[in-house]
């Protein structure tokens, strides 16, 4: 949701660089926190039910990554379970720091809004399979960091006045198909990586 650039940054409140960076930092922190919290809960709860050993995790991730890589590169059609909603529009009336935090947390978690590509499913599957709260926290925290960092950098460097927001958002959104293809390639590379690790790991058996 690239429109977050304006909402989390400075569309409504563009009163200087420090103010903008503070809002973007709050958004970034919320994004990391949202992802990390979800990963912690997911890893912990799946660990109570099961914990697949690392080599098997890598092997099981291969078909998931490969399938969504094909989808990202428009070579296959796959279902993408997702909530069909965005963050509530009423949040736009909140004070800017609260707004930035409210946008950061659900977007950083990734699953409470529309899902763009298959990387989310692969990562969630990886966290569930490992059944480790720390790995879940770090992994989905990294997802939130990536999501918030992009907004931080784009709004931090690309927006100097309120009028800059819409052209920037439109310019970035124009590359949506490129982003999907890039996600497909990242998933394909992950599939190759996990296949190699899984194949090699069958000869050793270390734990997490």
């Amino acid at each position: 949701m690239v429109g977050t650039i304006g909402l989390a940054g400075c569309e409504e409140d563009c009163r200087g660089f420090v103010r903008k960076c503070s809002l973007l930092s709050i958004h970034l922190a919320g994004s990391i926190g949202g992802g990390a919290a979800l990963g912690l809960m997911l890893g912990w709860s799946s660990g109570l039910a099961m914990a697949v050993e690392p080599t098997s995790t890598a092997v099981l991730l291969v078909p998931i990554c490969a399938a969504y890589a094909l989808s990202g590169l428009s070579l296959a059609r796959l279902p993408q379970p997702s909530t069909g909603r965005q963050v509530p529009i009423s949040w736009r009336r909140l004070p800017p720091p609260v707004l930035a935090l409210h946008y950061g947390v659900p977007l950083g978690a990734g699953v409470f809004t529309r899902i763009f590509d298959g990387t989310v499913y692969a990562v969630l599957a990886g966290v569930v399979l490992t059944g480790d709260a720390v790995i879940g926290c770090v992994t989905l925290g990294a997802f939130g960091f990536g999501r918030g960092l992009f907004v931080f950098l784009a709004a931090g460097f690309g927006v100097r006045a309120r009028d800059d927001v819409t052209p920037l958002v439109q310019a970035i959104a124009a590359h949506r198909t490129h982003a999907r293809a890039a996600a497909g390639m990242a998933l394909a590379a992950a599939a190759g990586f996990f296949a190699l690790v899984g194949w090699t790991g069958t000869f050793t058996a270390p734990g997490w």
Binding site: G35, G72, R77, L78, G84, V120, G126, A183, V197, T200
Partner: protein
């Protein structure tokens, strides 16, 4: 709150041949990275965790393009 399962049909950016080529190249590149990672002594468990983290990071950045 509504939920939906959508069969996503993305706009075609590349021809099938080029997309297939990129897929194979990316898989090969990933396998090569795996070989190097394990070759320098990283355990399969650590390599899996690290790859998952990098995939999450890339996924987080790219998720910003969701509509």
């Amino acid at each position: 709150m509504s939920s939906a399962v959508t069969a996503v049909v993305p706009a075609r950016l590349l021809s099938r041949g080029r997309a297939s080529y990129l897929f194979v190249m990316a898989v090969t590149g990933g396998a090569l990275m795996g070989t190097i990672t394990l070759g320098i002594g990283v355990s399969p468990a650590m390599a899996t965790g690290a790859a998952l983290m990098f995939l999450a990071l890339a996924g987080g950045v790219l998720s910003n393009w969701s509509p």
